[in-house]
């Protein structure tokens, strides 16, 4: 175990000291003159379910995208399991490296997107099987078997042979979740995964997330506008404002008794809009 790992006081003495699942240390991200992440600091514990809320432009999605290394950072450091994933001092091509070592670090993380981003030319089962086959080196048969298991988990066994265009939005998003899970990541990022869905399809996707959360081990970071879901799903909730974690705490505490005026304003605005 990495001796320099930051010991989390909330873990009992019997468990070995564990580094946080992921950690943002003074991370800055700018687009031209616009600062999206401003000295962002955040630690996510292993197996923690963290919901990220905040007004648009507060940096929620950018936070997930930098962790997935889809975006470079301008300063600071992002660690995963105590290891440096990316560093602000690295040149852009090293931060966005497609070398095997970088891919192996990235492999611990999976991401589900707002627009699903399924591969339109592949059937559901092929969508799920392609990365395990190509990246993990599974045989075709093993990969397909694994894909069927994950499709079953998201309740889509019967749609395995369908192309994405023949599936509803909710079904597509569940395939996308299965596709990420099939790589067996330690951390899963969900970027407004229900925002593009018709209201009546939101429930089936949230149901899958809840099931995943109950299974335990997975660290989950969820950007969402579904406040009731965030409240029941998350261990902690972080309210982001102007590129920083403005307030973070227990889900119940944030929703019932926010300390910060900004948080209160935001929650009032969002909950009134229902």
């Amino acid at each position: 175990m990495n001796a320099t790992a930051i010991i989390d006081s909330s873990l009992s003495a019997s468990t070995p000291p564990l580094a946080p699942a992921c950690e943002f240390i003074h991370v800055c991200k700018r687009y031209g003159s616009l600062t999206v992440l401003k000295d962002m600091n955040l630690k996510v514990k292993r197996a923690e379910k963290l919901a990220l809320i905040g007004p648009s432009g507060s940096g929620k999605s950018t936070l997930l995208r930098t962790l997935m290394t889809l975006e470079t950072i301008d300063a600071g450091e992002i660690k995963v399991n105590g290891e440096t994933l990316t560093h602000g001092s690295w040149p852009a091509d090293r931060q966005r490296s497609d070398r095997p070592a970088a891919r192996n670090r990235r492999r611990r993380i999976g991401m589900v997107f707002q627009q699903f981003n399924l591969f339109p030319h592949k059937t559901a089962v092929e969508n799920v099987a392609v990365a395990p086959r190509k990246v993990l080196g599974l045989s075709r048969q093993e990969a397909v078997e694994r894909a069927h298991n994950y499709l079953e988990m998201v309740g889509l066994s019967s749609k395995a042979e369908e192309l994405p265009s023949r599936l509803s939005g909710g079904q597509q998003q569940r395939v996308a979740i299965a596709r990420s899970l099939a790589m067996q990541p330690e951390i899963m990022l969900f970027d407004e995964v229900t925002s593009a869905l018709d209201p009546e399809l939101v429930g089936e996707v949230l149901g899958v997330l809840r099931k995943l959360a109950e299974e335990g081990d997975l660290t989950m970071l969820l950007v969402t506008h579904q406040m009731e879901f965030a409240r029941s799903f998350a261990d902690r909730v972080a309210f982001l404002w102007q590129g920083q974690v403005h307030e973070i705490g227990d889900a119940k505490a944030i929703f019932d008794n926010p300390r910060e005026e900004r948080t209160r304003q935001f929650l009032r605005a969002v909950l009134e809009g229902r």
Binding site: N104, F113, V130, K134
Partner: protein, 219 residues
């Protein structure tokens, strides 16, 4: 009446013209295959994030596209031997055809590649797929089908441009037709037949294109 078009004469020169047509078909398919392969690294380099590479390859493509193929053909056939690369007319012709068309096809590829939405690359990135797997399994299967009509157009164009090889004495269809004309002082028959044979090749290429389109759509 038979002075304008003599069927007997047409029949007598048919074997020579058919043989020459087969040379044109072979030259075109060989050059087109090379162009198809050659175009891919060109397209990738032109869309590369390395600005210098992209610019160098971009300039090369523009130069080749922007000058007549006949000029390139003469430079290859008469110019290269001066710096030590002597070659047969056929080799020079295939080289010029495949480089010239490789540059056109590179632009077709580029358009096709760029039409695949970046979110597809992001999805592959989030699955830790390697760049080569991303290209093979995600990008190309989506980029190729919309490219097929344009690829077919250039195949037809190449059949006709293969006639330019006449100028460096490659015995393809048009050279042979012209030669028959000078030997017999009869141009109508060989040229009409040559034209019809070119038309057959083009229609064949168009048919092939449509067949490929249909196959990809079914997939």
């Amino acid at each position: 009446m038979n002075t304008f078009f003599s069927l007997d004469f047409a029949a007598s020169i048919m074997p020579r013209l058919l043989f020459a047509a087969s040379v044109t078909v072979k030259l075109t398919f060989l050059s087109y295959s090379i162009a198809l392969i050659f175009a891919l690294p060109l397209a990738l380099a032109r869309t590369s994030s390395n600005r210098y590479l992209a610019m160098a390859v971009g300039s090369f493509i523009e130069c080749v596209r922007g000058t007549p193929m006949l000029v390139q053909l003469f430079l290859v056939f008469y110019g290269l031997p001066k710096i030590g690369f002597t070659m047969q007319p056929v080799t020079a012709g295939v080289l010029a055809l495949s480089v010239h068309y490789g540059c056109y096809l590179a632009e077709v590829y580029r358009a096709g590649l760029q039409a695949v939405h970046t979110t597809q690359r992001e999805a592959a990135w989030a699955l830790s797929m390697s760049p080569i797997d991303t290209l093979k399994s995600v990008i190309l299967p989506q980029a190729i089908p919309p490219m097929i009509p344009a690829l077919g157009t250039y195949l037809i164009g190449m059949f006709k441009d293969a006639a330019l090889l006449a100028s460096i004495s490659v015995f393809e269809l048009l050279t042979t037709a012209k030669l028959i004309g000078t030997e017999s002082f009869r141009y109508t028959e060989p040229m009409t037949i040559a034209g019809l044979l070119f038309l057959c090749m083009s229609l064949g290429a168009a048919g092939l294109t449509r067949l490929l389109e249909r196959l990809w759509v079914i997939r």
